[in-house]
Amino acid sequence: MTFDSNAFLIIFTGSLIAISCGMLGVFLMLRKMSMTGDAISHAVLPGIVIGFFVSGSQRSLEVILGAGLLGILATLMIDWLRKKARVQLDASIGITFTLLFAIGIILINLFAYKVDLDQECVLYGEIAYLPIDLWITKSGLNLGPRITWLAGLNFFFVSGFIYLLFKELTLTSFDESFGSVIGIPSKGINLALMSMVSYTTVSSFESVGAILVVALLVVPPATAFLWTKSLIPLLKVTVILGVLISFFGYYLAYWLDSSIAGMMVTVAGLFFGASVLLNRKRNSSKSGTSPLPQSFGI
């Protein structure tokens, strides 16, 4: 088997995306906000479309700004619906993301003749075209695929964010009130996390699609959680899973000739399923069958 530079690039980029998403996802999961992450990744769509429409290109700052703003807007809207309008949490998440996503789809159809952005691209992205989409400077210097650079930048920001705010993130995830008492602005931290999630969604949406980002946000952390309960190993296992997912995802997709992003998610699902089954065995052999909860004898 020879070294295939295209395959390497795709797997490398996929890993970067999966790792950035996974690390943020760990904190989302610990805060029981996995569905909020799902909502945000749907909700950034109108921001992307408007940014795209204003600037005329996918690679502009406007797109990232628009998506970031929409991500924060979605978080605030969920919060507003829950606290001010007193809608229960699951319903406020459902209403928010469906409305914003619907607006996004309408905008795409409205601007369809002006922007080169279609529903399929938004849904499942195309990481396969990555090696031909090169970033060439004005002087003609070829710097390699653009999306890889984007993913790298995103990875850099996400790991910097987690490294710098590790203490704050951990504290507010486990004990929000204690964090507030010792002076950590838990709301600010929460909003910062949400904007990182939206930024990650935007920089990944071209390659894996806005919806499949959710899978990378949620599934690796959930799988890792089945194996370990402490935070640092949780992050490590998530990172390893991210790399494995993109490696096997690429080759399986290549072999079956289908969407790489979709296959990455399928592989993630397989890892998850295997972990559930293995852990079930491990737990039951360790402790025997768990005792049934006692009912009240009358």
């Binding site: 029981k32 809608v87 229960q88 319903a91 459902g94 469906t98 619907a102 919806i211 289908s258």
Partner: protein, 428 residues
């Protein structure tokens, strides 16, 4: 406008069919959605609706064409697997519910996307129809599809109506249902079946991604208008039918527009209106009710202050002294004084304010309630006299005449409160 008339007079029989279909479908999913909303399982519907995609693709592969029976069966099976997995995982792992739902949703959708792209590359010309499942296209539904989907929707509506009592028990008090011998497990199970069915038929019109809105939004919007289950169901169905027909109309006028997003936009609009403007629980109403209540309490505090001055032997208070009693609340105090003057509770003489005859009896009522409550807390609740004031400060605005009579009777028409102050009463 011509389109509007053409569409809503149903001159075209196919439009009539589509509208009929979307009406049945909207009612069905609104019914199911309202129950799942009340059961706090709204997002399970989202997971199911994403999870039917692989089943749809499988049905397509097996049938080789867009055969509604195959597709509905496939979707039903994969939706069922997803529902089963979510309850199984909840029981057998320590993952939180939202992580489980998000995992199932994204993994199933990912598998669906893999199958969809593989199908697209196979070059089958029929494949174009499959894309409509992602965002829905009500106009594209053929009459044959409609019979199946409409029939299923009718089935859901009938089952939910006939077994309303059982499903009501499931949502509101499962333990009670168990204890009086209803098979709650089978009821839950059949509800899950109905939910999957609703999703399966709903995605035709609204698409996989946005189906959650059709389940969640009508119920939560209707919840703002009523507390009764029957009314709730009817309202939810009405909201969803209105949005469904409007969405269909938009994709009739602008054929490139998918139906789903527009249905969702109309639904959300109705929901927003409900959140803001509904009487009793709408935000606007609650805002004004709170304002009104605050004004009332401030008025009563003013009366009390004047009465206390009267007890100390001062018939009137200078207006500046009243302002100083409530620092930083001068505007509120001013409007309170204005209100009291309009009710003839107080008279203003130059810069001095004194209670009128009716003002004195109103002030006495409030002070009486305050002191009665203090005495009640002290005597019947064994709370120390220096701890009773704050509670009385709130309850004095809320105690009704009936409660007052009850307190008087319980305490045997006392003369003094725990602080040895007279409990004032009107002498007949």
């Amino acid at each position: 406008m011509e389109d509007f008339v053409y569409f809503f007079t149903f001159q075209d029989p196919s439009i009539l069919w589509v509208v009929l279909g979307i009406t049945l479908l909207g009612i069905g999913s609104a019914y199911v959605g309202t129950f799942s909303f009340l059961d706090k399982k709204a997002l399970l519907g989202d997971a199911i609706s994403h999870a039917v995609l692989p089943g749809i693709c499988l049905g397509f592969i097996l049938a080789g064409e867009k055969n509604p029976v195959y597709i509905v069966t496939g979707a039903f099976v994969s939706g069922g697997i997803a529902t089963f997995l979510s309850t199984w995982l909840k029981r057998n792992t320590k993952l939180s519910e939202d992580a489980i739902i998000a995992t199932i949703l994204s993994v199933f959708f990912g598998i669906g996307i893999v199958m969809l792209t593989a199908l697209q590359k196979s070059g089958n010309p029929e494949i174009a129809g499959l894309n409509t499942f992602i965002f829905g296209n009500a106009i594209g539904i053929s009459e044959k599809d409609l019979m199946l989907y409409g029939g299923l929707a009718l089935f859901i509506i009938l089952v939910l109506t006939f077994f309303l009592k059982e499903f009501r028990l499931m949502v509101f008090d499962r333990e009670f249902g168990d204890s009086i011998g209803f098979p709650m497990k089978s009821i839950s199970f059949s509800f899950n079946v109905l939910m999957i069915l609703a999703v399966v038929i709903g995605i035709q019109a609204i698409g996989v991604v946005l189906m959650a809105a059709l389940l969640i939004t009508p119920g939560s919007a209707a919840r703002f208008w009523t507390d009764r289950l029957g009314t709730l169901l009817i309202l939810a169905a009405l909201f969803s039918v209105i949005s469904g027909v409007m969405g269909t109309y938009i994709s009739f006028v602008l054929p490139q527009m998918p139906t789903g997003p527009w249905v969702v936009v109309f639904l959300s609009l109705i929901a927003l209106i409900s959140f803001l403007f509904s009487p009793k629980s709408g935000m606007l109403f609650r805002f004004f009710a709170r304002k009104k209540y605050l004004r009332k309490t401030h008025r009563e505090h003013l009366l009390k202050a004047l009465y206390k001055a009267l007890e100390e032997g001062r018939k009137s208070l200078p207006i500046e002294e009243i302002y100083e009693l409530y620092p930083y609340h001068k505007p509120q105090t001013q409007s309170g004084i204005k209100d009291l003057k309009q009710n003839n509770y107080i008279n203003q003489n130059q810069e001095f304010i004194e209670l009128s005859q009716s003002g004195i009896s109103e002030a006495m009522r409030i002070v009486r309630l305050h002191r009665l409550w203090e005495l009640y807390l002290n005597e019947s609740m064994n709370i120390a006299p220096d701890h009773v004031h704050d509670s009385a400060e709130q309850l004095e605005h809320l105690l009704t005449p009936e409660l007052e009579a009850l307190l008087e009777k319980r305490l045997n028409y006392p003369a003094l409160d725990p602080h040895q102050e007279t409990i004032p009463r009107d002498r007949p």
